[in-house]
Structures are given as structure tokens and as C-alpha cells.
Symmetry: C2
Subunit: 314 residues, 2 copies
Amino acid sequence: MARRPLDLDQAFAAARQGERGPLAKLLSVVERGGPQARRLGQLVHPHTGSGYTVGITGAPGAGKSTLTSAMVADLRRRELPATVLAIDPSSPFSGGAILGDRVRMVDHSLDPEVFIRSMATRGHLGGLSLAAPAAIRLLESVGREWILVETVGVGQIEVDIAGDADTTVVVVNPGWGDAIQANKAGLMEIADVFVVNKADRDGADGTRRDLEYMLDLGSRDGWRPPVVMAVATDATGIGESWEAIAAHREHLSSTGALETRRDERAGVELERILTEQIRARVDELRAGDAHADLLDRIRARELDPWTAADQLLS
Amino acid sequence: MARRPLDLDQAFAAARQGERGPLAKLLSVVERGGPQARRLGQLVHPHTGSGYTVGITGAPGAGKSTLTSAMVADLRRRELPATVLAIDPSSPFSGGAILGDRVRMVDHSLDPEVFIRSMATRGHLGGLSLAAPAAIRLLESVGREWILVETVGVGQIEVDIAGDADTTVVVVNPGWGDAIQANKAGLMEIADVFVVNKADRDGADGTRRDLEYMLDLGSRDGWRPPVVMAVATDATGIGESWEAIAAHREHLSSTGALETRRDERAGVELERILTEQIRARVDELRAGDAHADLLDRIRARELDPWTAADQLLS
């Protein structure tokens, strides 16, 4: 299928004027990766730094989507625009297609001040780890301030992406062991705010106690994550969730930790880009004749693979 | 702690004479990785290709260690030497230390014709994926023929390592859903032989049926994995397990698939080494002054990370 080439500069200018169509197209460029995504990243870079990202993660079924939707509604009640980036590495669908499935988000789908986008991998290794921060930067460069980054599962990539947010919200449910599961999945280390969702169920107090107990064991950047009790389906605890996020933002700003964190992320991203560029070069090397010849010589035991790698790289 | 430098040539020559001490030291070199492991790989390479590896994998608790031990006993009954490489990515111990814990292996620990070694990661990314095949090659280059590669868990790295063997044995237990679990963990695709261990328990026939049903759905390289019923604790089914492995070996040899598989593995390994070499170069780049300067310019938004990566790589 031929794809009409998108004029990146024109689309970016239009997106910065608030047009949604061009923004959606640019997000597809980011998702596909490759040279166009790179060119777009260069356009976007000078305009970044004004958004604030909130990562929302937790086990499947914890109610992340419902919580996200309720948090969007709360932003809208306060007349603030809202942006949601849903990260779904396992989805075979592209952004637009999955959106229809996100039933609870449908409430917001006609609101012009709400922008929701799902993002899947495009099959290339490390794809989402590069694409998600690039998408966030694109969103902030077109003037979107509050960007909620919701992950569908708790795979390593998703935990990493949620943990890369300015404030990371970890959603758990009442029930024996849920707090311990969160600990196992590496969620304790990335949590800035805990939300115990479905807090009207049995065991909510126990889960809160478990969390507080684990939080007693250590804090990060001088911040102790608050534990908010919520029932997202009837909007209970949503205001408190936002208050906890605002308090964390204030803490990060006043201590200078916000800049430090963002500087660290810039370093991590440069590393990912370096690795990706180099990986692309390895793929090129592997496609060449020299690679096939060297492989034959390795198989004939004339040459060891380390020396072969050196010869390819030189 | 200062480590006395090991004379690789001398140790390798001694290991090829059958000395166990030098072999154990060389395996530690492989495990640590780095330039010495690379030098050793170069020494070893011309002498590889004569061993036969049997991967043994399956869920924790399936009885892999017991089966491995019984298979070692069977080799010894036939007066064949036996070699076991136990892959344990989660173990914080180095090879020698964990051996004492492997109680069931103690039967063999005084037998000079049995060589058992545990291998853990040494913390570096992709470590085991590179170190395990290098260890196998070292073992075959010193004349060890039957090499059993047992994995402790079924993490992706362990499944990959077990699947890289010449013959891969997947161990399951009776019980509803165990075959389905094996399918989920990606074990159906790598299995050349199934062993239903603890086959004296309820549900063994059902598990066999489930496996046969899934095997009806497709085969690989014209080979349908046999399903062997075993009770490793009393050595039932061990002879049959070895017969199934021998039949698979004969199949691979007669169809030429053994060479094809090994050629493919050589390609995969060259790719891993290329990636690892490149990663080492990225680490070098990141340690330099140029990297720090570029990072400052990215943070100041004077420069985008893609252009910075290009500048570092050029």
C-alpha cells in the first residue's frame, strides 16, 4: 500500500496550532520509527520540556483504565485539557483501531480538549522504549501539559516506561499479597503515589498497611509515596489522587529533583538511540556479502566468531 | 582481591589432557566474560564440533535435576563419561558454591568421569546467552561428548539456551494444564523429546494425551517429538528417555538437520558477539568527555539526541 508522504514541517506546524489530525499522523510517524521519526524528533526537540507526565501502571485488572478515565474527567471538571497515551506492547492493532475498544474512554471521545492515543510496538526490538518518550515529547511540544501515560500490563518495558514519567502512580487492589506482588514486579521502586483502587472491597486496609510497612523500609529522593484509597468507578478518591500528584510535582520542583530526573532521562535516551543506531548498523553488516563469507569460515573452523566480529566492525 | 593471572594456553592444554582443575578455572573465565573469555574462545574454536548437547528444561519443580541425575547414572552404567552444565541466572553464587546445594547430584560428585558445573550470570547484560554456548564449546573442545544442559527456571534466556541444544528435552508433570503451560512458555516449539516425569501420579495419561494432541498440530524438521513416561526418582523411563534422544540424534544426522541447526546457531552467536562488541563501544563512548558535552547541549535543547548520537558514532 503506497503511503502519501507526510510533510513533517507542515504537519508539525498545524499540530502546534492545535489541529488533531496532523498530531495523530505525527504520532503514527513516531510509532513506525525509522528516518522520518528521527527527523520529527529533531523538529520537536527545541520545543520540549513544558509538559508534565504522569505514569499509571499496575497489574492487569487493577482498574488502570477506569482510574485514568476518572482522572481525565477530573481534569476536565477543572477545565484543563487532558492527554492520554496508552502503552500496549501486546496489541497487534495500530493506534486508531484499539481506541474503539477502550469503552470507558468513550465518554471523552467527543471532547475536543481530550486527546487519547494507544501505542503498540511495531515489531522492532526496543521499539516502544524509544517510541514512547518520543511520543511524549511530541505531545508536550504541541502544548499539551498533563500527559497521562497508562500501561496495559506490567512487562519490563511497560514498567520502564511508566517509571520514566515525572510522577508514577502505581495502582493496586485490596487483597492479600497484592502489595507483595507490586514489590516483586519492581513497582515499589518506581512508585511516587500509590492508589488502592476498589477500596470498597474487603482487605483494603490490610493492603494499605502492607504498603505503608514496605514504604517504612526506604524512600527515594526524600519523598515518601502517599497511599490514596479510591473507587475509580464512582470517582471516589480521584481528587485525592490528583492532590498527591500535585504534591509530588511540587516536591520535585522545589528540591530540584525534577531537573535531575529529566537530565538522567536524557542520558538514558541518548544511550538507547546510540544502541538503536548501532543495531541498525549490525543489521546492515549482517545483510552484506562479507558477513556470509565470514560465517562460512567460522563454520569451517578457520576463523573464530570474535575475530570475525572484529573484521566486520572494522 | 588480586587474582593471579591464569595462563590460558597452559590451562587449556591441561584441560585437554583431562585435568579437572584447569577446566573448572577456564569455565570461570568464560563465566566472567571480557577479553580473557574472548581469547579462550579463540583457542577453543578449532577444537569444537565433536560434543552432543542435550538441553533439559521445564517448570520449576518438574524434577529436572532428578531426571538429569538419573540420566547421568544411566550414562555411567553404560560406562560413558557425563557432563552437566546447570544454568541458573538467578543464583548469586558462582559455580562451585552452588554445587553443594544440588543434593541429588552428590551421588556423582566423587566419580571422576562425571563433571558438573553450575553457571550464573555475572551481572552483565546478555551474559548467559553468550557464556552458555561458550562454556559448551569449551567442554566439547576438551573431549567431553554428552553434555547435559539443565536450566533451573523457564525464563526467556533459559528457554533460549535449552532450545540451542542439539536435542531439547522438555519435562512436564501430570496434572491438568501442565501441557498448556508448556505451550505458553514457548516450550512446545523447542521440544524434541517430552518427558512426563512423576508419571506414577494421577493425570499422567491425560497430560500425555494433551501433549500428543498439541503435537498433532505440527512438527518441526520432519520430527515428531516422542512423549516418554518417567519416574526419575526410581529411574523408571530413563533408558527410554535416552533412546528417544538417540533416535532424535540419528534423525538429525541422517537428514543433515544437525549441520543446518549448528550453522544457524553459529549465525546467531556471531550476531550476539557483534551486539556485545558494539555495546562495549557504546560504553566507551559514554565514558568520554564528548558524551558529557553533548548531553549538556541536549539538555540545553541546542542539540537533539539523534544528531548527538551521530556525532558520537562518527
